[in-house]
């Protein structure tokens, strides 16, 4: 193996390991890991199961909120959410029918919402504005209209 190849492969290996270290540091030390909530629910009994029997926005602390949200073809409940700027918002999500996506455009909020599972994701909204929430997993004929907004004041 020529010397240049050894250098190249060492660099390649180093880059991959560097990626691993950074990803691991971010995921476990900075708690920036991907949404990975492990809690299940009967997908046919969402409306009767707490907390999804009462979806809505709830204040849980000093400028901390929980949004309990039910997804179904082709809407989000509650629709139209309003929180103050700087609020730390935890979204607790499940779906009544097929797989849906929960993405807030121009943020890093992006999660799959799978029937039978409860998904959680947290975001601090620093900038005021009207954020676009959209479904990014094909869910049927009205998939393109499945969206809502979060108003941060």
């Amino acid at each position: 193996m020529p010397r240049s190849e050894k250098i190249w492969l060492t660099l390649s290996f180093g880059i991959i390991m560097g990626f691993m270290l950074i990803v691991g540091y971010q995921a476990f030390a900075l708690e920036l890991g991907p949404p990975s909530h492990k809690e299940t629910i009967d997908p046919q009994k969402v409306d009767e199961t707490a907390p999804f029997d009462n979806p809505g926005v709830f204040q849980t602390g000093d400028n901390e909120y929980e949004v309990v949200m039910v997804l179904q073809a082709f809407s989000y409940t509650p629709h139209e959410i309003e929180v103050p700027a700087g609020a730390k918002v935890t979204f607790t999500l499940t779906t009544k029918d097929v797989i849906h996506g929960f993405q807030i455009a121009r943020t890093n909020v992006n999660a799959m919402v799978v029937p039978g599972h409860i998904q959680k994701i947290t975001q601090t909204f620093k900038e005021p504005g009207e954020y676009l929430v959209l479904c990014n997993e094909y869910c049927g004929i009205g998939h393109q209209i499945m969206g809502t907004t979060i108003t941060v004041k």
């Binding site: 193996m1 020529p2 240049s4 190849e5 190249w8 492969l9 390649s12 290996f13 991959i16 990626f19 691993m20 990803v23 971010q26 995921a27 476990f28 920036l32 890991g33 991907p34 949404p35 990975s36 909530h37 492990k38 809690e39 299940t40 009967d42 997908p43 046919q44 009994k45 073809a73 082709f74 029918d97 097929v98 797989i99 996506g101 993405q103 455009a105 121009r106 890093n108 992006n110 999660a111 799959m112 799978v114 029937p115 039978g116 599972h117 409860i118 676009l132 959209l134 479904c135 990014n136 997993e137 094909y138 869910c139 049927g140 004929i141 009205g142 998939h143 393109q144 209209i145 969206g147």
Partner: protein, 565 residues
Amino acid sequence: MTTVNVGASERSLKQKVEQALGVVAEDAKLSKSYMTVAFIALLIGGFLGLFQGLERAGLIQLPSWFTYYQVLTAHGILLVLVLTAFFTIGYFYAGLSQVLGGILPHVRRMAWIGFWLKIVGFVCAVIPIIMNDATVMFTFYPPMAASPLFYIGLALIVIGVWMCAFGAFINVATWRKQNPGKQIPIFAFFATGVFVLLFFGSIGVTIEVIMLIFWSAGILETINVMVSRTLFWSFGHTLVNIWYLTAVSAWYTIVPKIIGGRRFSDTLTRVVVILLVITNIPGGFHHQIVDPGMGEALKYMHVFMSLAIGFPSLMTAYAMFSVFERTGRLKGGKGLLGWFKKLPWGDVRFLAPFIAMAAFAPAGAGGIAQTTNQLNQVVHNTLWVVGHFHLTVGTSVVLTFFGISYWLIPHISKRVLTPQMNRIGIIQTIIWTVGMLFMSGAMHYVGLLGSPRRTSYTTYGDHAVALGWDPYMILLAIGGTLLIVGVIIQVYAVFNMMFFAPKGKTEFPIAETEEEPQGKKPALWADRWGLWIVLMLLVVSMGYVIPLVDMIVNAPPGSPPIRTW
């Protein structure tokens, strides 16, 4: 008595001539049939892609009897399954016929049975798509339920592919028995790797599809959605990596011959194949990085398993440029980059795969980015991902396939590539490259801005963010329009070379290896496929046993079939 003898010797003479001409007529017919289906799929799938691009940009509206989502489902199946599978099998069987001294008669029969199983399966899958009874995309995530016929079709396609895989194994094994102490020819080595992955990679999805048949037919009441999704992705990403490995086989074995050089170290080439086979299957897990129901530690391990596939690709990058430099210098290229000018840029058989390789640099980097946890979260299910696989599959793989077609089609048709056709090929390659730059570039960027994939034209009630995507959608549509021009030229070129080009001999160009040090023994250990398969299965178990057991043991109540279209 004499006449019979003459007849027999004439026949054997005919066979010898065929051998010398480099193609066995019956094997050529098999490959030609596979190629014909592949390029018809490209033509239809290409037009469906154009319609989507134009609809996505808001320029046309698809009719209610053939919706955007039906078009998208058909486009995916035609291009990521039919074009690629038929091309790959036709190409490898043509090469196996070449390097193993012909396809065995019973293997040829298996390949034909596989051919018809795939065709019947494809027809079964397409009927419900056209009837709007299977508008579920080629990923068919439950609990969206298509007609059972759709899943039966998919199962038949898989069995058809398995027939070809087993055929290839039998042919290679027979050759080894007849040639003790010899290395498997490098091209057959690549073919073995590809068919090993095709078989083992599709076992998970086959289990899923069989469950879905019963579930959609009402025999099973509910389905475990996460298990289905996980089984699907154990196959989904392996599949695209198989098409990539097919392209890589041409980069290592064919391209050096076309530029008049020798191929890269035989041993290291085999190591790359082995690594790609062993590490491949768990790589698909990164499609589930933002899924619920599995912990962060598991997802982190899978980042490593996905990134591991990057290493053999980086080895390949070195190998390719090493071959190019050496060949360019032998041809008199001087200085730091003089060798680069000596490469045959006017030869489509080189230009197309070269651009394909070059495209893999950004495509692979993008892949490494989106396979890592946090970065994946930024782009998951956005148009970025669509841009990514149009650069990997749509450019690195497909442009290599196009480049192959300019010698493979003449080879199996006993015709030649004319200078005019070469020129057409160069133009086609440039159009394809520019089209993909527009389309894939726009998709990557607008994906970063949040535009979702698999979504027909929408402004989400004229939301400012969504309106900001529109200019990029126009670029996407321009790219798509250029690409359909490329498709038409390519399909014309293939059928012209198959039926109308001047008759003659075209070789199947496999390069000789670079000179090995004196007295170095061939790396026979590399041919121990049993061992590589065991290692592969160990890696698969590492990746999948824990999450699958967890998903089954801690499963929520399942989901009934649902139709939302």
